[in-house]
Subunit: 431 residues, 2 copies
């Protein structure tokens, strides 16, 4: 006899919780499809040299390696590297700008930690151009994720956007040469606080007058229009700075055309996304009342998706939801429990009326009502107990009376109320 157990760090839900997870996943996927992103589905196993194409570092330690004779395979740790491979491999057959979505599991052999998963879903959208990609697309991916998060009916959220060119240009105007290191430290603001950032900047040799200017800069706040005015008033003549400013203004303008509520999008000059990878628009997304849980949807614009695979240039912009972690957090915050109810019907036959129950279920399913009949030999109490545990909205009892009158007892499983209705009336209630 073997002890049944699941590996630590793997999310494995009971069916009633999985139903909620699937609702979220479906909301996201439906939105991606509606926004005309195209699906791809790359294998979970890739060649190690493809997976590690960006070079070593933290990630390479976390890659699950396959123990075959060649030791040259591993499990994907994100969906971006597979996308880079995919685009460079099939570029002749793709239609640029290539809008792709992928929802799939990725794997990271992290050490065990509450709320961190070794297998988790990423829900990615990216738009990839060949040589060029218009700035409209930066707004397009935000708009798509806006629709997805709305459809998920999660608590109030806010996209916080920035453009790395603004900060980089500003740092150039301060004659700071190693802008990247400064950006990486600013990125830690939420974790280490303002004093922490100052300390780190001092450590990498930024003088205190510049540090004060940087801190003043990233603290600029107000409405989006006020922040833009402040930036314009700075009178910085650096080209990169002004390009970044123009870009963020353009993206906000397009999002207005897309009718995104102004409350849902805010410039935050301290958002940098640690990675050098990003070159323009950068985005993080926060639940307004639960900002401390961190960003739930992040990404941005990059110059070149596939630089390790191809000489061609593929600029792109993308955003990603880490669904497994988001689900975990929403569930910890007790924000999902009311979604477990199944919008469907359990048909309960009295003894000997099983065939009638089956015929009724057949009709209901044809009319797109999620349904089943309880067909085990059991007392009525046990049958209702099954209905309760199934968390189904309605139960219908089928017995002699029901067959005679062709009216069925429809029981609301939440309120316990029961009424006799014709099939047509029941259908009206259910759809």
């Amino acid at each position: 006899m073997i002890n049944p157990s699941t590996l630590a760090g793997m999310m494995e839900l009971l069916p009633e919780d999985q139903i909620v997870f699937e609702k979220f996943k479906n909301s996201i996927e439906k939105t991606f499809v509606n926004n005309m992103f195209l699906p791809i589905d790359t294998p979970a196993i890739e060649k190690l040299d493809v997976l590690l194409s960006k070079g070593g570092g933290e990630t390479s330690k976390q890659v699950y390696r396959i123990d075959n004779s060649k030791k040259d395979q591993g499990l994907r740790f994100d969906l971006t590297v597979p996308l880079a491979k995919y685009v460079s491999l099939y570029n002749q057959d793709l239609n640029f700008p290539f809008r792709r979505y992928q929802i799939g599991k990725v794997y990271r052999g992290e050490r065990n930690q509450k709320g961190r998963y070794k297998e988790f879903y990423q829900c990615d959208i990216d738009i990839i151009g060949k040589d060029n990609l218009s700035l409209y697309n930066d707004a397009e991916v935000i708009k798509c994720m806006y629709d997805a998060l709305k459809k998920m009916e999660i608590p109030e959220f806010q996209f916080q956007i920035n453009n790395r060119k603004i900060l980089s240009g500003f740092l150039k105007s301060l004659e700071i040469s190693d802008g990247e290191s400064v950006l990486r430290n600013i990125d830690k603001l939420d974790k280490i606080g303002l004093d922490g950032v100052k300390e780190e900047l001092s450590k990498i040799g930024i003088d205190s007058s510049s540090i004060d200017k940087i801190v003043d800069f990233i603290k600029i706040d107000g409405s989006n229009q006020e922040i833009i005015s402040s930036l314009e008033d700075f009178g910085i003549s650096d080209d990169l700075f002004n390009q970044g400013l123009d870009e963020i203004k353009f993206v906000l303008e397009v999002l207005k055309t897309y009718k995104i509520d102004e409350d849902n999008i805010k410039i935050n000059l301290s958002i940098t996304r640690g990675l050098d990878y990003y070159t323009g628009t950068v985005v993080e997304t926060f639940l307004v009342d639960y900002k401390y849980i961190g960003s739930i949807c992040s990404g941005g614009r990059y110059e070149n998706l596939a630089e390790n695979f191809s000489k061609s240039k593929y600029p792109g912009v993308g955003l990603s939801i880490g669904l497994t972690r988001l689900y975990y957090l929403l569930q910890e915050l007790s924000l999902v429990a009311d979604r477990k109810l199944i919008n469907g019907v359990l048909v309960i036959p009295m003894d000997g009326f099983e065939s009638y129950a089956i015929a009724l279920v057949e009709k209901l399913r044809k009319d797109n009502v999620r349904s089943m009949a309880y067909l085990e030999k059991a007392k009525l109490k046990k049958k209702f107990n099954f209905a309760d545990k199934l968390s189904v909205k309605y139960a219908i009892i089928v017995g002699e009376d029901e067959i005679k009158t062709q009216e069925f007892s429809l029981r609301d499983m939440l309120t316990g109320e029961q009424e006799k209705l014709s099939y047509e009336k029941i259908l009206e209630k259910l759809i």
Copy 2:
């Protein structure tokens, strides 16, 4: 620079093919949900002792092992072992009979072979009882798969069913002791032919008179009713035989109540499903015009799902579609090409009318029309070229005239026909 490549034996489709694959997958999932099967999602990585709980053999050689320090993890090779683990692990929290579906990738390190995949989707439904499970459920899983295959709109298919008790009982009546070996050889009928089966039976020591009787038996054909009559006329008094006969009659009766077309289900006494695992109903499913590609949906009734994990008895019945292989075969038979068309709209702005295009797309998406605007700087010809390659049903052109008149040119991308219509008229056409 690293050469971008995908491992051999992994299905990786272009977006237009992936769209078709997703249509199939969605049809299956929607049907499982509509039939009130509950979702579960177990990790792809499991402990090796869980994966190999059934003991060694072919499967254990094919398991992808994870190369971590403990060497105790591997990738799942089916969804049944994870289900057995799941049921025995969470049995206290489950609602029996437990109807679960799982659609997910499984992994087998087979040698490279055309049409065989190392990573492939299985779409499984199972109904698991605790101690008991009524025979209704054998019909229930067939009915669910019937709905799924119908919804997929694949070519005409036929479930071929049998009951292992019929054959086992018949062999007992012939006083053959090693019935299992005989069944395993009968299972090879499609591969080695009738003469092959005879030879194999002779090799395992069955006398020629018995072999003749066995061959006559599995050759019994006719309508379902004729086959049942023939079996009844045999006058075999063996209990197991008669129990099997009663069971198959009952299952066919329930399927009639479920209004399954008689053409779609047929008794085939030579179906045994090689595995000893199955104990009653066994099912294989064939495309009537392409029988040679083999079963596309198989499974049956088993006595005890979790015998390696638990002392409790969990009888169950389940069926599985190997979707990756099925997709591959349908595509090889050129039966999927017409499904690549995207039911949606590409909005093409004339230069300077991008904002109008965005506003239109926003409206279309709100009205659940899959749509996007083409927003790159490009000549009109390039924009239409994008539409062609996207395989989208319609394109709408937006320019000065359209804004003035509020009538849009809707172009049918298949016929090339174009007409000017109001937004409302367009919507009518599209939904």
